[in-house]
Each structure stands twice: as C-alpha cells, then as structure tokens.
C-alpha cells in the first residue's frame, strides 16, 4: 500500500512539474472563475443561513429559518410563478417567431439584409435604456402606441400596458421578445445554412410543396439546433433583471415581479434589506432552474438515443 503510494507520488509530481506551463496558462481563468463565480456561490449558501439586515457587519446564524419563511412567502411564489409564465410564454414566441422569420429571410428575399439589420437593432442596445424608452412609447396618455391604436379606432380608451396588473407581465414579455428576437434570428439563420441546398432541390423535383419541404427537411435537420437555441433562450428568460427594473420595477402590485426583482428588492431596495433572505430566495430558485435544465438535458439525451436506435 504505502509502497505503491510512494511509487506514484514522484511520478505525479514530475508530471505536474513538466506541465507547469499548462497550469500557468490556466491560472488567469482559475483565479477569475474561482473568485467571481465559485466563491460567491458558496458565500451565498452561507449567507442564506443567516439573519442579516445588511446594515450590520455580519449576520446571525439561523440555520434554515430563511428557507422556512420563503416557503410560506406568497410573494416569493408569486415571483416564481411570474418567472415561469415569462419562460413558458416568451421562449416559444421568441424561438418560433425567429424561426419563421429566418425561413422567410433565408429564401433569398429582396432587402433581407436590411430586414435582418432592423430586427437586430434592439439587440445591440442596452436593455436598461430600452426599458426607459419603452415606458415613453407605451405611455397611456401621450405614448405613440396608444395614439396609433386610438386613431385606427381599434380601441376607444387608452390601454395602460405597464400599469394594469393583468397586463404588465405580458407587455414586458412583448418588449423582451422585441429586444432579443434579432439574436435568435441570427442563430436560426446560421442553423439553416447547415442544411445543404440540394436536399431542397431534390425535394422540389419530387414535387414537394413549401410546407412539405419545411416539415420533412427543415424541421428534422434543425432538431439539434432547436434544443440548443431553446436552452440558451430559457437561461436568458430567467435573467431579465435590467429590463424589468427599468420597465416596470416589478409592479404594479408585484404583477410583473420576477425572481431577479424579488431578490434585488429584498437585498437592496427594501427599507430594511435582508441579505440572508435574498440569498436563500436566489439559491432556491437557482436550484429549480438547474433541475429543469438538467431534466431537459436528460430528456434530450434519451431522445437522441432513441433516434440513434432507430
């Protein structure tokens, strides 16, 4: 036992020493990721076990008290539900609409470059600023959107897009899709370019129509991209802090309060900040997201295996 140990140890040491420049290359990433990603995560786990008002230097250990309170906090579950609604409604719209546009633009339409540019425009602009701008644009008293709808006689009273409890979350979803559609469009266009053009030509010769070509060539070949694009979009849809803060700040009456805003409100914006409680909420939600994504990956792997078996 001890023999084998001493035999291995020098060889490991020698290997490590021989590879020292490899570790030197790794050093910047290791230091950065360890300090800004991994350590904060462990620190948050510790914080989530504290009762800590943020004014004090340190908190008081209360074990799982914060978690117990969160499970009973209706506003946490409200924010949780809003985030779920956001993901469930916004992701299919963004992914689907972008695919539709990509297919249309990919058909070699005139001006397609200009269209692509126009749709990409909101992507490169700062979400926090767009939130403020859209508050102007959607204003019920002097905003242009209501003005158009009124002049077209589609409505008789201005719609308070951001100020009505039943509407604000969906308005925010609309703005979010508007902002980010361009990047999903680019993803799809790149994916479409991986499909060889002669496949379509062959199908056309066989008499396949527009829809049939889409159904039997495009859709199956895009499946792996669909998974990746959906995954990326889901992660993005759980991370909409800047847009929501400037657009609705979670209001009115928590109707558009997503998890990020809930956490921020607890940690910074409340009269008495609660760092421990905020950390616990963030972690609990983070665990749920990870579970969903892990489930997604497992399902995808299963599907792939089944496809491979066929």
């Amino acid at each position: 036992m001890s023999l084998s140990h001493s035999a291995i140890r020098p060889s490991i040491r020698r290997r490590l020493w021989a590879d020292r420049w490899i570790y030197l290359f790794l050093l910047p990433t290791v230091v950065l990721v360890a300090s800004y990603t991994i350590w904060p995560m462990f620190a948050s786990i510790w914080f989530s076990l504290l009762d800590w008002n943020g004014f004090e230097r340190a908190g008081r250990f209360i074990a799982f008290g914060n978690y117990a309170e969160i499970f009973a906090d209706r506003l946490f579950w409200n924010a949780f539900a809003n985030t779920v609604i956001f993901v469930v409604v916004a992701v299919p719209i963004r992914v689907g609409l972008a695919l539709l546009l990509a297919v249309v633009l990919n058909a070699g339409l005139p001006f397609s470059r200009s269209f692509r540019t126009a749709i990409f425009l909101p992507v490169v602009t700062t979400a926090a600023i767009l939130g403020v701008v859209m508050r102007f644009v959607l204003d019920p008293a002097s905003g242009p959107v209501n003005e158009v709808l009124l002049q077209l006689h589609l409505i008789t009273q201005p719609i308070n897009f951001l100020g009505r409890a039943g509407l604000s979350l969906y308005t925010a979803i609309g703005v979010w899709v508007w902002k980010w559609l361009g990047i999903t469009l680019i993803y799809w266009m790149a994916a479409l370019q991986t499909i060889p053009a002669d496949l379509y030509d062959a199908a056309r010769i066989d008499g396949a129509g527009r829809w049939q070509r889409f159904r039997y060539i495009t859709v199956p070949l895009l499946t792996p991209f669909t998974i990746i694009i959906t995954l990326i979009t889901v992660v993005e849809a759980t991370n909409v802090f800047d847009l929501m803060l400037t657009l609705t700040n979670g209001g009115p009456f928590f109707s558009s309060e997503v998890i990020d805003i809930f956490v921020y409100r607890q940690a910074f914006a409340a009269n008495i900040p609660r760092l421990g409680y905020a950390s616990a909420a963030a972690l609990l939600f983070g665990v749920c997201v990870m579970a969903v994504i892990a489930a997604q990956i497992v399902v995808v792997a299963r599907l792939r295996r089944r496809v491979a078996e066929q």
Partner: protein, 283 residues
C-alpha cells in the same frame, strides 16, 4: 407553360407579400428608435402634445448639450467604452489561454476544470451579487472601473472557453511539431501560431463579450452606488431618470447619445457580429 407561368407569378406574389409584411414588421421594430430620436429634439412640453408626427417643431440641440455636459453622459460614455474594451480584452486573454491548454493537452485535473466550467454554464448568473461586492471591496476596487471589468470578465465565459477548446483541438498536431523543430517555445507557439489561427473564434468571443459587457447592468450598478463619476451609460441612465424626471427631452437625448455609438459600431462591423454569433451557435 401557362401552369409554370402562373406558379411563377404566384411565387412572386408570395415574395412581395412577404416583403411587405416584413417591411411593416421592421417599421414596428425600429419605431421606438425613431420616436426616441425625434423626442430628443423636442421642447419639454412638446413631448406631451399628442400626435404621431416624428418631426419636431424645431431642432433643440440644447437637449443634447444638457445631457452630454450637465448630466455627465460624456463621462458615462467613456466609462462604458473603457469597461467594455477592458472586459473584451481580458476575456479574450484568459479564455484563449485556457481554451488552448484544454483543447490540446491532457493533464492532471483537466476533467475537473471542464466539469466545473460546464457547471458554471448551467448555474444562473447574477444571483451572487453580494459576495462580489465584498470581494471587490476587499480588493479595494469598489467604485473603480477595474472592479467592474474583473467582475464582468470573471463570470459567465465558460462558452467562450469551450469554443476556443473546440477550435484548438481540431488543429493538426504537426503545427506544433514543426514549430518545436524550429526551436519555438511554448509561449511563442501560442502567441505566434495558435492564437492568430483562432481569429474567427476570437472574433466570436469578442462579439459575445462585447454584447454582454455593453449591456451589463447589475454589476456596474451595485459597484458604483457611491461614485457617480464611475457609472456606465446604463446605470447613468437610471440615475438620470431618478433625479431629473422633469427633463424628458434631456432624457431622450441622453438615451440617443447612449445608443448611437453602439448602433454605428454595429453597422460597421455588422458582418463580423452576425458571423460571430452564428459561429457560436454552429460550434
């Protein structure tokens, strides 16, 4: 003959219908920008006057002067450019190094590094802000652009590393062998041969990081609460909204000022942007 002609004219009809629909859609897409630019030239009370006309009564350039000089947007612009550039350079630096060794070498701990990177990819970003503030404080970088750059460069770049690793792993072994014969050292091989070859990946990483850094909000927000002079555009905009509610045209001018450079930049490097993003998804 006639069937073919009618099918061709049918196709043309569909094409132009699509163009029309798309044109309307694009108008909707860019309308907020047009409205914003128009509002930025208006008189404070003119903004509230109804009507859809985008043409202001007179061009009020003083709105811009106010936003640029008085509200400090010149400073915010400089801060944002410096933070974004710093972050992009730092990210390219550390992700290419790591991607290179992960892609081309087998060493003790490689699996661990990859596992941790993949895990950080799944963990939702932005939740652990308080420890980041503490860390930045400990480093003495609170209210400092370097603090923002380090925090932005230190999280959420697993995808870039994996892009580099994927690219480097495809390069033939002979490249290094030839270089070693020529007497090139490890650093020379990386700097002179490998990194230049990875140009397209670097472009992709630069674009993705640029987008993330330019748009970043929470980290610059919490790291500059105490130092208005270090704010970025996004944070400055929020502060401007908070303290100058009365000045709506100034706000529109400030927003226009914040958006124009990135839009201009985007038009110049459009191909780069699109291909970079597309490159990421293909890989």
């Amino acid at each position: 003959m006639s069937a073919a002609a009618s099918s061709r004219s049918g196709a043309r009809f569909w094409t132009w219908l699509s163009v029309l629909v798309l044109a309307v859609l694009c108008l909707v897409w860019i309308y907020p920008f047009l409205w914003l630019v128009s509002a930025s030239f208006k008189d404070p009370l003119e903004i509230f006057s109804k009507g859809l006309s985008l043409v202001p009564n007179a061009l009020r350039w003083d709105n811009y002067v106010r936003a640029w000089a008085t509200a400090g947007f010149s400073t915010y612009m400089l801060n944002t450019v410096l933070v974004t550039v710093g972050t992009v350079l730092l990210v390219i630096f550390h992700t290419s190094l790591t991607g290179y060794v992960l892609g081309r070498y087998n060493f003790i701990g490689r699996k661990l590094v990859i596992g941790v990177l993949v895990a950080t990819f799944i963990i939702p970003a932005g939740f652990a802000i308080i420890p980041i503030v503490d860390l930045t404080k400990t480093l003495g970088l609170l209210n400092n652009r370097w603090g923002i750059i380090l925090a932005l460069a230190g999280s959420g770049h697993a995808a870039s590393i994996l892009l580099y690793a994927g690219f480097f792993s495809q390069l033939p072994k002979e490249l290094e062998e030839a270089a070693v014969v020529d007497g090139a050292g490890f650093f020379t091989i990386f700097g002179r041969i490998m990194l230049p070859l990875a140009g397209p990946v670097t472009a992709t990483v630069a674009v993705l990081t640029f987008l993330a850094a330019w748009n970043s909000f929470l980290i610059p927000l919490v790291l500059t609460f105490g130092a208005p002079g270090q704010r970025t555009l996004a944070v400055g905009m929020l502060a401007f909204v908070g303290t100058n509610e009365t000045d709506w045209p100034g706000m529109a001018a400030a927003a226009t000022l914040s958006l124009v450079p990135v839009i201009v930049f985007f038009f110049f490097v459009q191909r780069f942007f699109v291909e970079g993003v597309a490159g990421a998804i293909k890989a």
